[in-house]
Symmetry: D2
Amino acid sequence: MNNLNHLIQKILIFRQKRNWEKFHNPKNLAISLSIEANELLEKFQWLNEKESQEIIKNQNLKKEIEEEIADVFYYILLLSYDLKIDLEKAFKEKMKENEKKYPVKKAKGKALKYNKL
Amino acid sequence: MNNLNHLIQKILIFRQKRNWEKFHNPKNLAISLSIEANELLEKFQWLNEKESQEIIKNQNLKKEIEEEIADVFYYILLLSYDLKIDLEKAFKEKMKENEKKYPVKKAKGKALKYNKL
Amino acid sequence: MNNLNHLIQKILIFRQKRNWEKFHNPKNLAISLSIEANELLEKFQWLNEKESQEIIKNQNLKKEIEEEIADVFYYILLLSYDLKIDLEKAFKEKMKENEKKYPVKKAKGKALKYNKL
Amino acid sequence: MNNLNHLIQKILIFRQKRNWEKFHNPKNLAISLSIEANELLEKFQWLNEKESQEIIKNQNLKKEIEEEIADVFYYILLLSYDLKIDLEKAFKEKMKENEKKYPVKKAKGKALKYNKL
C-alpha cells in the first residue's frame, strides 16, 4: 500500500534520527498504543451521548482529538512495520472474518459479541 | 488519501448492512479502541524482551497479533470518518509537531517525554 | 491495614504455589492492570447511560462485572505489595491532594480537569 | 469490610461536596479506571526489566507511581460502591475460581491463560 509506506517512512526517519530503535521492541510499542488510545479516550470521558455527537462543532476539542488519533495511528504503523505485518492486508483479511462472525441476519441491529449472537 | 478511503468504505458498508450506526457514537468508538488496543497488548503481556523481538518467527502468535492490529485499525478509521477527521492529514501535522517537541539534539537516545527533555 | 494485608496474603500464597514470581515484575503487573481494566470496560461498552444505571438489576451482567473488578483489585494489591507501597496510605494522601486540586468552590458541578478549572 | 467502607466514605463525601454524582454513571467510572490504569502504565513504559525491578530505589518515580495507583484504587472503590458490589467478597470468590482455573499441577511455572493450559 503505497500511501501507508509513505507514512511509515516518515516515522522511520524520525526514529532513526533520534536513535530510538533501542526502545521500540514490539512489547513497548503495544504498551504505547494502549496509553495513546487512553489519552484519546480521556477526551470523551465526561461527555454524554449528545455532547459526544456534537464534537465536530467544537474546534478546540476536535483539534485535540486529531492529535491523539494521530498518535495512535503512529504506533499502529510502527508496530506493523517492526513485525513485518502488512497492515492493509491484515485489515482486509479481518474484514472477511468479521463478515463470517457477524452474519447480517443474526447481527442486524444488535450490539452483541459474535459468541453471544 | 485514496487507499484509506477505500478501506473506510469497506467498514461503512459492513456497518450499514448490520444497522450498527446507532451504537457508534464517537465516545463508544473511543472505548472500543482502548479495548482492542488492550487485546493486542495481551498478546505481549508475559513475553520478555527477547521473546518480544522473536515474535516474527512464531507464525501462530503473529497471526493473532495481525488480527488484533486490524481491529485497532478498524476503529481508528471509523472514528476518524465519523468525526470528519482526515487521518493522513492529522498524522502529517502531528509529525511536524513531534519534530518540534523532540528536537534531535535534545531527544537523541533518550526515552523522555518532551516536557522532561 | 489489616484487611488489605489479609487479602494480599491470599495472592502471595497463590503466586508462590504456582511459581509465578518470575513473571511478575512491576512493568508486567502494570500491563495486566490495564488489560483487566479494559476487560471490565468491555462489559459497559455498548450500554447507553440508562442501561449503565440499571446494571444492578441484571444479575448475570453484575456477576461478570464483579469478576472483572476482582481481577483489577488483584493486580493493584499485588503491584502495591511488590513495590512496597502502602495502598491505604497512598490513597489517603492522594485524597488530600485531590482536596487541594479540586477546591469545592471551583469544582462544584463541573467535570473538568484541575488544570482547566 | 470496615477498612474499605472507611475509605469509600472519604470518596462519597468528596464527591457529594462537589456535586459530581451526575457524571458518575458506572460506564463513565469504568472509563476512568482504564484511563488511570494507563497513566500508571505510562510510568513503566520505557523501563527495561531490570529498571522496572529497581523502581523502589527511585523515590521520585515511586511517589508518582503511588499517586497513580491511588487513582486506580479510587475508581475501583467508587465503582464497587455504586454497583453495590462487596469488593472484598468479590475478590475472595474470584480467588476461589482462580484456584480451580489454574490448578498448581498444570499452571506451575507457566504464564499461560487457563484455556491454554
